[in-house]
């Protein structure tokens, strides 16, 4: 079973890498991350903050975009090319086929996140070194203690371990979106339909927290409002939970327990949406 899933996943990955959309999205993201170093030249704290905001924001939007676009075309393309029929005619259960496809997309997402993270780290490190040299030059006459304090502040403003936690959460959010897109593609009739639905899901997912809290706290609202809010809270994932970029860039540390809880939530969502996709795909007439 594992061999078959790996074979489907690696084929899916190769196929996705060959697509122009992957390069287009990735190159665009890399340009944005690379250029974030030149966007603003204020004090070094401001510069690092803007650099991190822009880079992590770019990573978040492009991994999400890639997850939706790459997954949306998987099934319709395979059905159109008749590849799906060839594979499923062999002793390959439908769930293996679907899981293989999803793993292919997840591998693509992991690869793009790694590339973007590597560039981000290089850009941030380069800026950090420049600022360190400038500080050392400016404070050449200052006592050692003051110089060390200044260098410590520069180092603390640049790369922190929490940034990697945020990158993992960005990746998990993309995995969740990929699984949800896969679920939508199992009943969608066209690519466009899936992408449009997922764009709405993306926005509503970021508002789910507001709807959920309003539903659970405001008992005075009318039953129609309550029902609508309940539906939003129950159906859509809470994407805001994965958006810890703002706080981390501002210097707030993420406790390890909280990071694991959020990550576990991401896994949980991905598994459930994949299961839903499998249930619907088993009933699909091919």
């Amino acid at each position: 079973m594992i061999t078959r899933v790996i074979a489907i996943a690696s084929n899916t990955l190769t196929d996705l890498i060959r697509q122009k959309v992957f390069y287009f999205v990735l190159i665009f993201a890399l340009i944005l991350i690379g250029s974030s170093a030149f966007m603003a030249r204020f004090s070094f704290q401001q510069e690092f903050q803007i650099l991190k905001d822009v880079s992590l924001g770019t990573m978040s939007i492009f991994t999400s975009l890639l997850a939706i676009l790459a997954t949306a075309r998987l099934l319709p393309q395979d059905i159109e090319d008749r590849t799906a029929y060839t594979i499923l005619a062999k002793p390959v259960p439908r769930f293996e086929y679907l899981i293989g496809k999803l793993f292919g997309v997840l591998a693509l997402l992991a690869l793009s996140t790694l590339i973007m993270s590597a560039l981000f780290c290089v850009v941030l490190y380069a800026r950090e070194q420049t600022v360190m040299h400038e500080t050392m030059r400016q404070m050449a006459a200052a006592p050692n203690e003051q110089l060390n304090d200044a260098l410590r502040v520069v180092r603390e403003s640049a790369l922190k371990i929490d940034i990697f936690a945020v990158i993992v959460l960005i990746f998990l959010k993309a995995c969740l979106l990929a699984a949800l897109t896969l679920f939508v593609t199992t009943f969608a009739t066209t690519n466009i339909f899936t992408v449009v639905v997922m764009v709405f899901v993306y926005f509503i997912g970021h508002l789910q927290e507001t709807a959920r809290e309003y539903w659970l706290q405001q008992q005075g609202a009318g039953w129609l409002t309550q029902m609508f809010l309940a539906l939003v809270a129950l159906i859509f994932p809470d994407l805001q939970a994965f958006n810890l970029v703002d706080a981390v860039v501002a210097g707030t540390a993420i406790p390890l327990a909280l990071f694991f809880k959020t990550a576990a939530m991401g896994f949980f969502y991905t598994i459930v949406y994949t299961l839903l996709a499998i249930v619907v795909f088993y009933g699909k007439e091919l």
Binding site: E209, L239, D246, A247
Partner: protein, 249 residues
Amino acid sequence: MIRLVLVIVIVIVFGAARLPLERNLLAQDRQLHLRGTQLDLSLREQIGQLGFVAALSGFRSIIADIVFIQAHVAWERTEWGRVFLLFRQATTLQPRAILFWDMAAWHMAWNASVAAMNDQTLPLAARLKKQREYFAIGKDFLERGIKNNPDKPQLYEALARLYKDKYNDHEHASEYFAKAAAQPGAPSYDKRFSAYELSYCDGREREAYERLRQLYDAGEKERLPTLLRRLKFLEDKIDIPQDQRIPKS
């Protein structure tokens, strides 16, 4: 049909099962100030429709950065009203960014207030009034910044400087330097500055002397020229016996 019902049931059951988990996560996030910004209609009015949509989709900090850059441009053009509005937006969008509060207060209390005083088209009384208003705006930015970031020493420090430089209020300056010193990661000079400021307060000379003396006794590292000068001044003022005074340098 059965499959459709099954899918709907799974979605609802899964939704209901994750509700307490999500709420628990939200409560923890809020406790740690990880998800603090309330996206409401007042923010919508401030940042416009597009900005609001972007903020809703998880790009709050990028929008805040763009607004911050716009505020910087407005400052270069000395459009003070616009600087104030843009900083209000930036701080609302990203209340955990110390830098935004600090810069907003600095532009208002230092730059805009000086520009107001230099405005020769207005009579002196109007200029003074405007200057005081800008001080108050700067102070308000810092106080709100502290409310949003009670554990960060930088904003207490900035507020202390504002009291010292703009209001000439050494008592409050000393109080906020002391508060800054009490925060984790505060620089060592905050404690010293608090004692310096206290040494200028009438009626609190004895307390100031004790705090400065304590710093002096802490070792050579603390015996900086200002500390020695203020300590000698207080020794004379409160008439400390000769044998208890610090040696003349």
